[in-house]
Subunit: 223 residues, 2 copies
């Protein structure tokens, strides 16, 4: 092993937004709306995955999507073309959403007639993991080109998510990505975490994801 020094820089970046997050969930419960918080790196395929999910589920669930981005509207436009409700949340430079921003987004979306609300968080594996948005469940996408070592480097993100989608399995032959090694790293951080390899481009593995989502929406309604 090579030699190197390690220096620790401590800094508190967390605001206490837990109470606000609990309020968001209470309101969602009242309205019978399930909120999924979807997180990933830039370019891992969140929007492509969402478009396919909307096409598969929009006849059985009333879907609404909040697209968070620094300042572009490209994703909300893509989603709105699928015929579901969409709002674009401009974070004004913020690298994540907190519970209050999410609350503003839900008000703008108007969730009174929404069964499944999805928040596409800012593309970032660090900051979004630190803030409870008020979502019922957290999902993340890790794409094959990013590498199977990401659980080692962004452990909090993998710890706070309920389900991991390993996306872009259609390009597995061109990258050194070991799905079993990734699963093991994830299980060490978060025992029992659901891991679903998918290709949002080809549709491979997506049925298992839809089933997970259907089950979670039903469980929230009945809870």
């Amino acid at each position: 092993m090579g030699e190197f020094k390690v220096i620790e820089i401590k800094k508190n970046v967390l605001e206490d937004n837990d109470r606000e997050a609990d309020k968001v969930r209470a309101k969602l419960k009242q309205e019978g709306t399930f909120l999924l918080n979807l997180m990933s790196s830039p370019g891992s395929g969140k929007t492509t995955m969402l478009v396919r999910t909307i096409r598969a589920l929009k006849e059985e669930l009333r879907i609404g999507v909040m697209e968070a981005d620094i300042d572009s509207d490209v994703d909300a436009d893509t989603i709105a073309r699928e015929g579901v409700k969409a709002v674009q949340i401009h974070t004004g430079g913020m690298c994540h959403l907190d519970a209050d921003m999410t609350r503003q987004g839900l008000v703008s979306l108007d969730t009174s007639d929404v069964d499944l609300a999805i928040l596409e968080n800012v593309g970032n594996l660090v900051c979004p993991a630190e803030f409870d948005t008020g979502a019922v469940k957290n999902a993340m996408i890790l794409s094959v080109p990013e590498g199977d070592d990401k659980p080692l480097k962004y452990p909090l993100m993998f710890s706070v998510c309920d389900v991991l989608l390993i996306n872009k399995t259609d390009v597995l032959p061109y990258f050194d990505f070991d799905i079993e090694a990734c699963r093991e790293r994830v299980q060490r951080l978060h025992p029992g975490m659901k891991v679903i390899p998918i290709s949002a481009r080809t549709g491979e593995g997506m049925e298992e994801w839809y089933d997970w989502l259907r089950g979670e929406v039903a469980a929230w309604r009945e809870s």
Copy 2:
């Protein structure tokens, strides 16, 4: 075009660390050390690119590397094995480095005998762009699997960088990535920005990058 609402959330996340950054640069100038701040998404190939750069340049330049990560040591270990000085900076959950953290890293690295210091920033296209670290130049990597639309979504990052490396060109046949469209988007945000397509895996395009780096190190010494 689909219909959707846009809501703006304003929040000031910037601390004024410009004075500290200028102090860092003044000290670097005094010591004749060039500092490069390297930024990208998680998994875009920063460490692989650095390893190849070190192998190519370590006989002509004394190199030191600061690896910033939330809490793993894997990258500093990889770099230290190449026989150059390396320190691991644990950000304690922070999603970026500011000038003071960089100053601490430089002290720990001891730049008195370093010609080229490289800061591998936290993998993130948002927050690191907001903070001047005190580096002489900023470089970023965008990898082919992330998509050619990233300049539209993370405009600040592309605006603050002096050079863009488009990495993983060896997998261009398997992705819808249009290098010319990406170049145009980058030039609209940042006219004159240097764009170099590379494959850190195969070495394609790397000579142009080494030449850019050699030129910048020499210009800093002579300035």
